[in-house]
């Protein structure tokens, strides 16, 4: 399964929904939820509205609320900057609550990339492990219960064939096996 990197806008919507505990894309509903006791939604919600050029609509929802002035000030600063939203957020102090969604988005993308790299390295490590232990790929599949086609493809570099948890389980199982004596390894090499 290909790893899909979300756009910043896509991430903001998911972020707002998670913080609000509601699967809605309605700015009005999300704002209402924020007001009712989920204030962490306020900042990413404004960013989402800015992405969609609907900050005017959100400002109407915010009239009379505790965030109206902050919303107005942030929106004005953003428009005055003339920068794209992500660039504008980069100019904010690290501790700014409006910057946190950007940091979280970048962290999530970095995590997905790291995950892909780790899986590739697990595949390399598994291949080395089989050689060290003197285990054939077929035997490894029998021991770990893995599908041969998926395992062989994973070892060849198709990281999509095994989930991370399955790959790690296989690695842990095979790693705990005793290494075969050198004479057995020579025998296997001779007969392969």
């Amino acid at each position: 399964m290909a790893t899909i990197m979300l756009t910043f806008r896509g991430f903001l919507l998911k972020y707002c929904q998670e913080l609000a505990g509601a699967q809605t894309s309605s700015l009005k509903k999300l704002f209402a939820i924020a007001k009712q006791g989920r204030p962490r939604v306020f900042e990413p919600l404004l960013l989402l509205a800015l992405c969609d050029h609907r900050e005017g609509y959100l400002m109407k929802q915010a009239v009379g609320s505790s965030v109206f002035e902050t919303y107005r000030s942030m929106t004005a600063s953003f428009h005055q900057s003339g920068l794209a939203l992500e660039r504008f957020l980069d100019t904010l102090p690290e501790r700014s609550r409006y910057k946190r969604p950007l940091i979280a988005w970048r962290a999530e993308n970095a995590r997905k990339q790291t995950n892909r790299q780790t899986l590739q390295r697990v595949a390399d490590s598994l291949a080395m492990l089989l050689e060290q232990k003197g285990i054939s790929r077929a035997e490894a599949c029998r021991i770990t219960g893995l599908n041969k086609g998926n395992f062989y493809a994973f070892l060849k570099g198709d990281a999509s064939k095994l989930s991370r948890s399955t790959a790690m389980r296989a690695y842990g199982t095979l790693r705990s096996l005793p290494s075969s004596p050198p004479s057995q390894q020579v025998d296997r090499a001779a007969t392969s």
Binding site: A104, R111, T114, T118, R121
Partner: protein
């Protein structure tokens, strides 16, 4: 996040570190977790959850892996100022069956 989610994150970071090649064969590094995350790992949390994980100490080689996760932070210098003298002798290891990370939290009853 609850305890299971925290452990899952720690094990994932541990795997990333182990397979990254930044550590030598057989090398392990320790990290010290404080705050609500530590209580969670010690089964002492009344809430059963934490918003983030405060990492008091971690080697430079593994810090980027920890801080890659937005839920981990190392901004608890003020907390360290409140810890007793030689608190490093009063920590305990949490066994999570990890490959490279040794995870420590404060031991209960450190005044004894």
């Amino acid at each position: 996040m609850d305890k299971a989610e925290l452990i899952s994150k720690l094990k994932r970071i541990d795997e990333d570190i182990f397979f990254s090649g930044v550590l030598q064969e057989g090398q392990r590094v320790g990290i010290i977790i404080v705050g609500a995350g530590a209580l969670l790992l010690s089964n002492l949390s009344s809430k059963g959850a934490t918003k983030d994980v405060d990492v008091l100490r971690a080697e430079d080689s593994v810090k980027p892996f920890l801080l890659h996760d937005a839920d981990f932070n190392s901004q608890c210098a003020a907390y360290e100022a409140c810890l007793p003298y030689n608190f490093e002798d009063r920590i305990k290891r949490i066994d999570l069956n990890t490959y490279a990370l040794d995870i420590y939290v404060r031991r209960l009853k450190t005044w004894q």
